[in-house]
């Protein structure tokens, strides 16, 4: 027993992730925390997406279940779990059952290397970003097998579209990622890193987020990735595999109930996963804004108060809406519920002011805030862009993003090595030209 407590305590104060330190207890705790956090994020995202889309289209969105529809995701979940689970008679049963599991496994496994903070990751791998891209590309297998196993035309067409689309956009995605990895190699040792934590550390050491590095090269890479990640997660405007106006629901047409909700869960956690890749690679991961410009004790204190203030502000907004609730007696319970929700938010905010919590939570907060911004981008895309036609989609992938990606790669390499290029290529060439003309 004493050994166990020693083992648990031995990790505390370590500057490594539990996976790297080899501490199984804390690794399990982190895995559970990430799993719970992810599920909550998916639920919140479900509600937020419907609300934000509705407000963009001047509608109210869900308003019936709970105050402002806050309990709608829970009602949906109960409905999905109670729904009849149908397996088509002509379906390939085994593959039909395995497919949603492949998608969910691929979507959740990638979070093993997502760095929420310098020590707040389950583990740090030497091949971090490669692992993330590789495992998230496995989810296409689940989609393709789901479409095939349904033994029906719409799912098959959806699956074919999905596989063509994901294989095409993976290349653009990879090129954008490689340009960032080249940027990490601009240090004394001359080799870069693929480790997710290492990439953020490199941004810290160079004092710049890679979105601003070699402006506008870093920014172009980010935009390329932002386009490719939408295609990679089958979201609007690239949601052709499930285009409801043409294919009813695409690859998951024949799925119902729990299995359908697995696809839903996987789609949203895959969105969070690629968003966290974008945040880690271009937006400085867990680093707070302006660590070099606004440094010193005062600024550190002010910025460490931001998480608490954010949650207090959310609580205040909720209480403003409590005051705006109808005063009719029928709304009494709803008003009380909303007030309770606001109180919880405010309480979380107050807890975040405690110094020890404040210092632990800070990097996680900044990381999550950036990911949340990226998720808002997804909703915004869906609310504003019409769906692409399939040939347009392929054209954008192969004829626009691919050449831009190659140009970006070469330009990043040249700009990164500009001193060497100048000394070893341009100046010798100039002297050679001079000697040919006879000036020397």
């Amino acid at each position: 027993m004493h050994d166990l407590i020693n083992y648990i305590e031995s990790y505390l104060g370590s500057d490594k992730t539990p996976g790297v330190a080899g501490n199984i207890f804390w690794a399990t705790v982190y895995i559970l925390l990430v799993f719970v956090g992810l599920s909550v994020a998916v639920i919140a995202m479900n509600w937020l997406e419907r609300k934000i889309l509705a407000h963009m289209q001047v509608r109210l969105g869900p308003m019936r279940v709970g105050p402002h529809g806050l309990l709608q995701p829970i009602a949906d979940a109960i409905k999905l779990l109670l729904k009849e689970d149908i397996i088509p008679a002509e379906a390939d049963k085994l593959v039909f059952l395995i497919a949603p599991m492949i998608v969910v496994l691929a979507a959740f496994t990638v979070f093993v290397v997502v760095p929420f903070g310098p020590t707040h990751a389950i583990t740090d791998m030497n091949i971090g970003i490669l692992f993330m891209l590789g495992v998230s590309s496995l989810s296409v297998l689940g989609i393709v097998t789901a479409g095939w196993a349904s033994n029906s035309h719409y799912p098959l067409i959806g699956a074919l579209r999905s596989s063509a689309q994901m294989v095409s956009y993976e290349i653009a995605m990879g090129l954008a990622v490689v340009s960032v990895i080249m940027m990490t190699s601009l240090n004394d040792s001359g080799t870069g890193t693929l480790s997710m934590i290492g990439i953020v550390r490199a941004q810290q050491a160079q004092g710049v987020w890679y979105i601003f590095k070699f402006f506008p090269l870093g920014f172009i890479g980010f935009v390329m990735f932002a386009i490719a990640m939408v295609a990679e997660t089958n979201r609007a405007p690239f949601d052709l595999p499930e285009a409801e106006s043409e294919l009813t629901a695409g690859f998951h047409t024949e799925y119902s109930g729990f299995r359908w909700s697995l696809f839903f869960l996987a789609e949203y956690s895959a969105m969070i996963a690629v968003s966290s890749i974008a945040v880690t690679l271009w937006l400085g991961g867990w680093l707070r804004p302006f660590p070099n410009l606004l440094h010193g004790d005062t600024w550190d204190l002010v910025i460490s108060l931001v998480p608490g203030l954010t949650f207090c502000a959310l609580g205040a907004i909720t209480f403003y809406n409590v005051a705006r609730m109808p005063k009719h007696p029928l709304f009494r319970i709803q008003t009380a519920g909303l007030a309770g929700f606001g109180a919880v938010l405010g309480l979380i905010g107050l807890v975040m002011f405690i110094p020890i919590v404040r210092n632990t939570i800070q990097d996680i907060f900044w990381f999550s805030a950036k990911v949340a911004g990226s998720m808002y981008l997804y909703i915004w895309y869906r609310g504003t862009f019409p769906r692409y036609r399939f040939d347009q989609l392929m054209k954008v992938g192969w004829k626009v993003l691919l050449p831009i990606g190659f140009a970006l790669l070469i330009l990043t390499a040249v700009v990164g090595m500009r001193a060497e290029v100048w000394d070893q290529v341009v100046i010798p060439l100039w002297h050679w030209l001079l000697s040919i003309v006879g000036l020397k």
Binding site: F131, L141, L160, S163, I197
Partner: protein, 179 residues
């Protein structure tokens, strides 16, 4: 100082006999399933399982980069294209077709030769191969590969990429009627 490299990796080894037998077992079962399934999609799925287990074996050899590339290229890229083609095949027709050709004599000869080779390695292995542990280079495996590919082995690497370029041009020539 390289930011991604932790000089003191003191993990308990994952390269235990249990994991080796687990992964090897998955690979063998998957491999048998690939050739015995009549349904081509089932064969492809079994092949994916085999390739993923192989990636696990690379991890056990402390070659994470090769494992990552194995997943991203074979399981995520090539197998998707395989499935893409196989899905369009008429399954009912392939079910009726004969699965094995009757060349069991040649098959037995090849299998016996391979088996003899394995037995020879097993019995004489100690004298054939040096005993000793390779220094584990997990911490900066990728960096080492990068330095080698773009330093010592630059020329073979470029030759390989030229070969791929020729293959791409060949595919374009075959697919396009008029160029």
């Amino acid at each position: 100082m390289n930011p991604g490299v932790n000089p003191q990796l003191v993990n308990p080894p994952v390269a235990t006999a249990f994991f080796f037998y687990l992964l090897a077992g998955i690979m063998i079962i998957g491999g048998i399933a690939v050739i015995t399934r009549k349904n081509a999609v089932h064969s492809a799925l079994a092949l994916i399982a085999t390739l993923l287990a192989q990636a696990g074996l690379y991890l056990m050899l402390y070659a994470p980069f090769v494992a990552g590339v194995q997943i991203i290229l074979y399981a995520g890229g090539i197998m998707v294209l395989f499935l893409f083609v196989i899905m369009l095949i008429n399954i009912e027709r392939t079910m009726k077709e004969r699965q094995f050709n009757k060349q069991w004599l040649v098959g037995i000869a090849a299998a016996a030769a391979l088996g003899a080779l394995f037995i020879a390695v097993y019995t004489k292995g100690k004298s054939l191969f040096p005993i000793g542990r390779v220094p584990l280079n997990e911490g900066n495996n990728t960096q080492a590969i990068g330095n080698m590919l773009y330093g010592q082995y630059m020329f073979p690497f470029e030759i390989a990429s030229l070969l791929l370029l020729v293959a791409i041009i060949g595919a374009v020539v075959m697919a396009k009627k008029r160029i």
